[in-house]
Symmetry: C2
Subunit: 385 residues, 2 copies
Amino acid sequence: MTTIPGVAPGAGAPVPTRRITPPDQVVPRKRPTIRDVAREAGVSYATVSRVLNGRDWVSPDAAQAVRAAIARTGYTANPHARSLATGRSGSIAFLLTEPQHLLFEDPNFSILLRGVAEALAQRELTLVLMIAGTPDERRRALTYLSGGHVDGVLVVSSHSGDPLLEQLVSADVPVVACGRALGHEQVISSVAADDCAGARSAVAHLIAAGRRRIATITGPLDTSGGVDRLDGYRDALRAADLPLDDLLITHGDWSRDGGAAAMRALLDVAPDVDGVFVASDLMAAGALAVLRDAGREVPGDVAVVGFDDSGLAATLDPPLATVRQPLERISDEMVRLISERVAGRAPVSVTIPTQLVVRASADLPAISARRRTGPPEPDHPNRAT
Amino acid sequence: MTTIPGVAPGAGAPVPTRRITPPDQVVPRKRPTIRDVAREAGVSYATVSRVLNGRDWVSPDAAQAVRAAIARTGYTANPHARSLATGRSGSIAFLLTEPQHLLFEDPNFSILLRGVAEALAQRELTLVLMIAGTPDERRRALTYLSGGHVDGVLVVSSHSGDPLLEQLVSADVPVVACGRALGHEQVISSVAADDCAGARSAVAHLIAAGRRRIATITGPLDTSGGVDRLDGYRDALRAADLPLDDLLITHGDWSRDGGAAAMRALLDVAPDVDGVFVASDLMAAGALAVLRDAGREVPGDVAVVGFDDSGLAATLDPPLATVRQPLERISDEMVRLISERVAGRAPVSVTIPTQLVVRASADLPAISARRRTGPPEPDHPNRAT
DNA sequence: CTGAAAGCGCTTACAG
DNA sequence: CTGAAAGCGCTTACAG
């Protein structure tokens, strides 16, 4: 909109051999302020501020003059002065507390990050990225976040015991979590997929496909995705009058390796397993590799359903049936909710429906009878990411 | 360090049924300012500012008193007031102009992002993430970045024609690029791997392995990684007195699919190719899949060397020989250079050595004679990410 | 509809 | 070594 006054960058100048540029060689070039614009427009600078913010009424003539003056001077408001006066920073933090490796292994995070970046940009809000893995980083993050640098915080990987969340809340920093904020439901807004219903649909599908020894690999039980998807698993078995067997429940940490380890354990204690609901696609990728190494055919011997459908699922071998959670929608809602919180509204939690996506890893019986070709590969390339 | 004064978050309170919280029900709770601290410590607030910034000398007694007062009041400086007074924002933008899909496909970006986040945090600088893919986003980014919100910009995916770079420079925004800033070398600091030497080592290795029809898949030729690695390829062939054949040069766009397409084209025009240097691991992943589909054995028929070693290479099948560029080091240097630029120093460019990493895809002759087992898979799982 | 003025909370020469 | 004061550039009641 506004044009930045250009200054010849001296592109053709010779390479500087000395690194220190003499300060007074450069024209000082002060940025125009609101006063400069007022003078140009022949109004008081309060009026300039008014047309800038568009709150009070300004006469068309004045507004016109101001707009012209802004264009002529290339004025842009100083964000710090504005923040000081308004008490708003105009930026929102995206806080990542998960151990770093997951951030780059699990596509969910990237997708969420991108969605949030877009949604924030649309509201003219700035995205501040904070990675707080180590205790030291977490301390620093708390100081920063409660120091007024940002208007609110988006948390995408909260575990229920995490003191950081509590501290942020105590410091009166608006927080929105992705996934129910276990233990903080009353003070933190959250947006989550309908984990329980999603899990239910996955397991119901396995049952419909004729599986009877259905296991699950859960996420960490101090996350809502962990407990709620486990609940859904149980619900579905109960609804079908199938027995609940604790041997069939193992736990992962959302990572690929965690899923692999859980699958190995499962094959050990329950070799007769014929279906697995895995609480994330990434863990399912690890589980698929283990099944293959163990010579189990998917879905012939063991049918597998994951959770997420974040892009990884469709590329696995075999393509992974999964429960789709609309991550773009989730990031949108997170941004909406944080804006609400910043504006002073009370917390709410939003739940978004999921959708079962059937793929080869859990085809219906008729189709699943087909055999895989070739021997299992010893070193499964799916480990690559 | 400083303690934030806690206020009971009312965790045990009942769920709010009305969403509007009455404003005067909450204690106003103004954050303590520098004046409050001064009063507590019995000094002028200028003195408080001095101990805060540690520039001028302050008597031990005064300093002591101020520190105690800070602890007692839980004071934290208001960042906006500070920014307004100093003219520094304390934040640096990480600008991504590459089409979004690459951001999440190419591990280089994630690694750089994480490294930069860490390095900035260590300097108490804030990382602002900007994704500017669409023209609209780019416009917005320019306004934002030249509007004084950030002290400098880190650019990780610049193409030489990009007007955004020029505009940033014209607006006097300090910029540091990853990779030589083609056409802006005099005004933009940059840090890059020694692309030319790295490429040379890769191709020299292929020659040493007995290959004679060595092709290359380059990056885009409007990026330094594109042209410099191509230069290295040519240098190595010349040094070995091998003919330069333009048929053996194809171009990719850094993406996996781009690498695959280039490899397909290569097999078409030069079916006798026996070695390929691919300018990135991700493109090499695509090329490997195509070779496999075409029934070419790697490295038996065609030896392949990539570039990056960002984590993907080792997990490919076969494991990919590649040129390692130290991305952690690169992100560190970028942050160092942007700090220098912000402090007013002139631009410099830093080049970082690379290292050839030999893996199965380009073993030496004796070893490469081994045969692969089993038929090629039709749907190669490596496409997963 | 518009000006004059206070205030947001710091930093930094400038005198002591 | 330390105070008083100006200044950073806005926003926003408060009077007109």
